[in-house]
Amino acid sequence: MKLPFLIKKGAEASLYLAEWHGKKVIMKKRLPKKYRPSELDKQIRVYRTIHEPQLMHEAKKAGVPTPTIFLVDVKKTTIIMGFIGGTQIKQLLGKTVKSKRQSLCLKIGELIGKLHAHGIIHGDLTTSNMIVDNEGKIFLVDFGLGEKTKELEPRGVDLHLMKRALQSTHFRFAEECFNAVIEGYSKVLDVKTVKSILDKIKEIERRGRYIAERKDDWDD
C-alpha cells in the first residue's frame, strides 16, 4: 500500500493512513468546502481543527480512550493522530449476539458518562465514531462538533443523537441498545443527574417531532 492512502472521504474531512516518524498515523485533513462562503468555511475548519484535539486530550484525562494527537497544523487545517487498528461499532453491532451487543453498549454508555461527568460533549455520537481495537478497548473519535460544558441541554442533545443514530442505523435493536447505554451511563453519573438528563431528552423530543401527543385525533 502506497502511503499516504485515502481511507475515508468523510463529510468534513478526508482521512489518510500515513507514516509519520516511523509510526502508522491518521492524517485528518479538513479540506475547503466549495459550497459555503470562503470566510465562513475557513472559520469553521480552523475552529474545529483547534478544538477537536483539545477535546480529545480532555477526554483522555476523563478516562475515555481517544487516539493520541501528534501534530496540529492549523494553517493546513490538518491533525495527525495515532492510528487505531480495529472495527467500527457500526459494523460490529449487527453481526454480534445479543449479550455481546449489550456489553458493548453498556461500555459505550460508561464512556459517554465519563465524558459528560468531565464536562465534555462529544457532539456527534454515532456508531461510526466508535472503534473497538483488537484488545476490546473502545475508542471515541471525531470530536469536531464537540464542546466543553456541564449544562443539561447539550448533554441531553448528545444522548438524544446517540438514540437517533441507533434508531436510524440499528433499528432492529435500537431500544435494547439505548437502554444498555443508559445503564452504563448511570454507573458513572449520580441518580439525580441521570434522571434530570433523561427528563431533558423527553423535553427535546417534544420540541421536535418525535412524540405523537394525541394518537387518536378524530373529531370532525
Binding site: L145, I211, K215
Partner: protein, 340 residues
Amino acid sequence: MKRENAGGFYCLGIESTADDFSVGVATFGGKILANVINAYMPEEGGIHPREAARHHAEVAGKVLEEAFTKTGIKPESLSIIAFSQGPGLGPCLRTGATVARALSSYLNVPLVGVNHCVAHIEIGKMKTRAGDPITLYVSGGNTIVSAFDSGRYRVFGETLDIALGNCLDVFAREAGLRQKVGMPFGAVVEKLAAKGKKLVPLPYTVKGMNTSFSGLLTATVNLLKKREHTLEDLSYSLQETAFSMVTEVTERALAHTEKKEVLLTGGVAANKRLQSMIRAIAEEHNVRFCVVPSEFAIDNGAMIAWTGVLAYKYAMVTPIDKSFVKLKWRLEEVEIPWIK
C-alpha cells in the same frame, strides 16, 4: 376494484397539511394530469390553523372543479381518493380529510391516507427518476435528511426545533416583507439575498446530522432590529449560514450511508442557491444530483395522488374509521412496501 375495469386508472390526491389546499390527479402509470394549488395568504402574521382551514373549506369546491376541468375526466372515473393524513396542522388536515371521505363514500372508491413527508420524497423520485437517494426534504414545516433502508425511510438527521422554511418565513415577516401568489416569502428572501455582499457572522448550529435554526433566527432578527446591516446583507447571511448547515448534514449523511444519489425536495428546494450547494456536494462525492421541479416542490395534491397510487398497489387502503388525521405522524413510522 370495480373501477379498474372502467378504462383509465386515476387517483385523486388532496393536500391540506398547512397553508395550501391542492388537488392533483395521477394515473396508475405515474402521469400527472392535474395539480391545482390554492394558497392561503394571511394579510399579516403566520398561518393561523383555523383561518387556513376556513380558507381550505371555502376553496375546496373550486379547486376540485378546476382539477376535473383540467383532466377532462369525470369524478365517476376515479379509482382511488388519496389524502394527506399527516403530519400537519389539525384543522387544515381535517378539512382535507373531510373532503376526501365525502368523495370516497359518494363515489364508492377506496380511500388512501398518505404521509405528507413520504409524498414529498416519492414525487421527487418519480420526477427525477432517482432510485435510492439520500433525501434532503426542506419546507416550512420539515427539515429531514433521510434514506430508505429495510422497508422504511429512516431519518438520519432533522431539525431539533423549527424548520428551515419556517426560519426564512419568520425572518421575512419580521423584516416587514410581503408575499404574494407565485412569490412566497422564501422567494422574496432569495431575491434580496442575491443582492447581499457582506457575510454577517451568525450562529452556525450543527449537531451531528441534525440542525437547529431557532438561535440563528433570533440572532438574525435581533440584528435586523439594530439596523446596522442592510436587509440584503442579512438575507444573504441568513441564507448562506442556514443552507451551509443543511448542506453539511446532508453531506455527513451521504458519507455515512454511501448512497449514489442526492435528492432535494420540499418547498425550499426551489431555492437556486440551496440547489447549487447540494449540487456541489453531489459533485464532490461523485453522486447524482436530483432536484424536484418547482411545481412539485411546494405542497401539492399531485404528490399525494402519486403516493396514493403506490400505496394502493400494495393494498394500503384506509377504512373510514381509521382515517383520523395524524398531526405528528413521523416519516419512519410508515411502511414502504413498494421499494425492494
